[in-house]
């Protein structure tokens, strides 16, 4: 079986029947790893193109590589999460003041991103610019970069050593990393954090979060519980 990245690279980004919400319900508190495997199959894309999702898959898996602590970011549904966020009100710029005039941030990160683009267009443009930069400078698009080269590219982007011609490169990196982490750590109802992989990794129990007795009983002792999602309580 291909891993998610391999699956995406093979061009198999097509709608399948199972949504992540049902995956979370099916998982239940005691059927841990089965859900992750079944839901590692492709999900429909609502906002991004298949090509954009491939670039994101490579980036997200560099941010969250597979190891003994968790599956890779894309296997945890992080690309699905980002696509759904960008397809929804967040991607359209809800709760974002978008009146002009717009001034370049000129590296003054204290003001926050000042782009006139809504997050969906901002991320799409950033993906295109990054892929173009990679192709122009190494002859290889992002999705085909070997892991060490991809990591080096992302480190340069993070530290401001790469300037992208039409977009604030550091703001783009910041937005991408933030979205990836949201997808990895948010409640699984949003399509990421499949099988509560990140919650298992750190020992976060999720819901129901009523600890009136436990806070005293577990003072200095680890509180361990099968993590539960909002969907597990419906």
């Amino acid at each position: 079986m291909l891993d998610r990245r391999g699956f995406m690279l093979s061009g198999g980004v097509l709608a399948l029947t199972q949504t992540d919400a049902t995956a979370a319900v099916d998982a239940g508190p005691d059927k841990s790893s089965a859900a992750a495997q079944t839901s590692a199959a492709a999900e429909p894309l609502y906002a991004l193109t298949a090509g954009e999702a491939e670039v994101l898959t490579a980036v997200v898996d560099a941010f969250i590589p597979a190891d003994d602590l968790s599956p890779s970011g894309s296997d945890c549904g992080v690309v699905v999460f980002i696509d759904r966020q960008l397809a929804g009100s967040y991607g359209a710029g809800a709760r974002l003041y978008q009146d002009g005039p717009f001034q370049p941030s000129n590296g003054q990160v204290q003001f926050g991103p000042q782009s006139p683009l809504a997050p969906l267009q901002f991320i799409q443009l950033g993906i295109a610019e990054l892929d173009a930069w990679s192709t122009a400078n190494s002859g290889t698009p992002v999705k085909q970069l070997p892991k060490p080269e991809l990591n080096a590219l992302l480190q340069q982007l993070e530290s401001g050593k790469i300037a992208l011609p039409r977009i604030d490169a550091r703001a783009f990196f910041g937005a991408l990393l933030q979205l990836a982490m949201e997808g990895f750590f948010a409640d699984p109802i949003y399509g990421g954090n499949r099988d509560k992989a990140s919650w298992r990794m750190i020992g976060y129990p999720g819901l129901p979060a009523t600890y009136a007795k436990a806070i005293r009983q577990y003072r200095g002792r680890r509180y361990q519980a099968e993590p539960r999602s909002i969907a597990d309580f419906l």
Binding site: D67, D187, Y190, S198, Y223
Partner: protein
């Protein structure tokens, strides 16, 4: 076309803590009160129900209960000659929205300010000499003293069922409480919350190095509680979802949980939600307000609500902006120092220390909004500043408020922000890190101020409020001092790694710091130094009263809610007992 409504006794703009308290006091006195609230109404039983209310992405990250900057935001520049840019997404501070306002999503920390905080210029002058106060540090006395406010602080604590331990009852120091606090008339309504393991590590270490730890006073009820309004609060479940969330257990005191039931039964009370106030209708000739103009956000229609009394309780930015838009009081000019509206805008400076423990299990997801262990030894003027080169200070606390993983994922210094090493360190330390917060004062500076932005507009085309703000050298020196003391505690806790996180560089609006903004419509002794008098009554329109932390002449090293509520009760007392009998200026010069 503007539609003029039937006149009422009082109109209130903003239905958060201070607006709800004032509405309750005025209806109790028999007045007809209309409260205008920009946001929606909220029904805790539905809006804050489990399991949906435990959604970190929706409420904490996407800020569902907060003000929508698309409708109205503020702009920032760091200095007077800088170019302001709009805060396009709220980050460093989170204005509230809807009935309950910020009181819906606060953490519940309910500190009183120190007696010296309420008369800061006099106090520092007496102790260090008037010449020791820097010329640009425009601190001043509130005009009301701690002793005068004490009954009103007590009243708010009773309303909220605050859980805590008194440190000073009528001048007698109490074991286990804060020995530095002003004299209290009595104990807290509820016993302290159950301390977390991290709280206990902090308490022991701080005591060992000679400091005076005490449990933070919290409006998270440690036991079921019935307040003087007859409303019932539930017991806190330590769920770790106070700040930015509603409380499904009704344990966190909010305007919805403490005052809404009384207001629903008050025959003289009417609230209008989705009502966006755009002007105080002000007659400069008679120096009186005649009412408030608002836009109904559902229909788009504009209404004038005439009233005999106008109360502004729209938080720091709303109050200041409405005064400026309405032409009440002289706008402050930072270049000349003339004028008062917009003056003395303050924030707070809150550096933190992370203490990593390789052998401790801290269960960071168990917590309550106000669950903390605190030392006040370095707050305000509780310590000698003679040779330190700064004024002010702050409390240092270990707060066990939340361990929600999108936002709380501490790693030691030097850890990358992503990749294999990041994963390993995140998994290592998530359950084993205690964060200590320094809640630092911010004293006003001549150039930190609010005015109307010349360029950017709200959704109805009105100027946004512009803040000119940066931390001063006094703030930075003070913060570094506090950070050093907090690191000392971390080392005494025997932490494996102690990592101070200083606040460096220009003020930034992106990462969350504090929603403890103050100033802009400050109180004082004369129209030359303040917007409102000691009863929060406008010097320029005696029937306009301004509530909330916008009236603080400077910010203290505490969470400001209790002080904002105390001056509101103080104002309501004067309004009902004096002003209603003889509507006129309550302070004669």
């Amino acid at each position: 076309m503007v539609q003029v409504l039937k006149s009422t006794d009082a109109v209130i703009v903003g239905l958060g803590w201070t607006g709800a308290i004032m509405a309750r006091e005025l209806t109790r006195a028999g007045l007809q009160v209309v409260a205008l609230e920009r946001g929606p109404d909220r029904n805790p039983a539905e809006d804050f129900a489990l399991p949906a209310i435990r959604d970190e992405l929706r409420y904490s990250v996407r800020q569902e209960l907060m003000q929508d900057p698309k409708m109205e935001t503020v702009t920032l520049r760091h200095r007077l000659d800088g170019e302001a840019r709009p805060v396009r997404r709220f980050g460093s501070f989170l204005p509230g929205d809807g009935v309950g306002g910020m009181g819906t999503h606060w953490n519940g920390n309910t500190f009183r300010f120190l007696p010296s905080d309420h008369r800061l210029r006099s106090h520092l002058g007496e102790r260090y000499g008037r010449a020791s106060i820097p010329e640009d540090m425009t601190i001043q006395d509130w005009g009301v003293t701690y002793e005068e406010l004490e009954p009103h602080y007590s009243r708010f604590e009773a309303l909220c069922g605050v859980s805590g331990k008194a440190g000073n009852i009528a001048g007698k120091i109490q074991a286990g409480g804060n020995p530095f606090e002003g004299p209290r008339s009595g104990e807290y309504p509820n016993a302290p919350l159950v301390a977390s393991h991290a709280n206990e590590l902090f308490r022991r270490a701080a005591g060992e190095i000679g400091l005076h730890p005490f449990p933070a006073p919290a409006s998270n009820a440690s036991a079921p509680y019935v307040n003087p309004e007859g409303t019932q609060l539930g017991a806190c479940q330590y769920c770790g979802h106070c700040d930015r969330f509603g409380c499904e257990a009704n344990a966190k005191a909010t305007p919805l949980s403490t005052l809404a039931p009384s207001l629903r039964q008050a025959s003289g009370f009417r609230k209008v939600t989705n009502a966006y106030a755009t002007r105080v209708l002000y007659d400069a000739k008679t120096r009186r307000a005649t009412g408030v103009r608002y836009i109904d956000l559902r229909s788009g229609e504009t209404y004038d609500q005439p009233a005999d009394i106008v109360v502004l309780s729209a938080w720091v930015f709303g109050n200041t902006r409405l005064m400026l838009l309405s032409g009440i009081g002289e706008p402050y000019d930072a270049r000349t120092g003339k004028g008062v509206v917009g003056k003395n805008y303050c924030y707070q400076i809150q550096p933190t220390v992370q203490a990593f423990f390789k052998d401790e299990e801290l269960n960071p997801f168990m917590g309550a909004g106000g669950l903390g262990m605190v030392v006040d030894d370095f707050n305000g003027d509780n310590f000698d500043h003679a040779k330190l080169g700064f004024f002010g200070g702050g409390y240092i606390s270990q707060n066990s408020t939340n361990g929600r993983p999108i936002s709380f994922r501490p790693t030691p210094p030097g850890t990358p922000a992503w990749g294999a090493a990041w994963k390993r360190e995140t998994a290592n330390w998530y359950r084993r890190t205690a964060t200590m917060l320094c809640e630092g004062t911010n004293y006003p500076n001549r150039t930190n101020a609010l005015d109307l932005d010349p360029t950017y507009r709200d959704m109805f085309g009105q100027p946004l409020l512009r803040m000119t703000f940066n931390f001063t050298q006094n703030d930075r020196t003070m913060a570094d001092f506090l950070l050093g003391k907090a690191a000392d505690i971390g080392r005494a806790m025997n932490a494996t790694i102690v990592a101070p996180q200083p606040r460096k560089g220009d003020f930034n609006v992106v990462s969350y710091q504090s929603s403890h903004n103050t100033g802009g419509t400050i109180m004082g002794h004369t129209p030359a130094d303040s917007v409102v008098n000691r009863y929060l009554q406008s010097w320029d329109a005696h029937n306009v009263f301004v509530l909330g932390s916008s009236v603080f002449p400077q910010n203290a090293g505490y969470n400001p809610t209790a002080a904002a509520a105390a001056v509101t009760y103080w104002c309501a007392d004067a309004l009902v007992k004096q002003y209603l009998k003889a509507p006129a200026p309550l302070v004669q010069l």
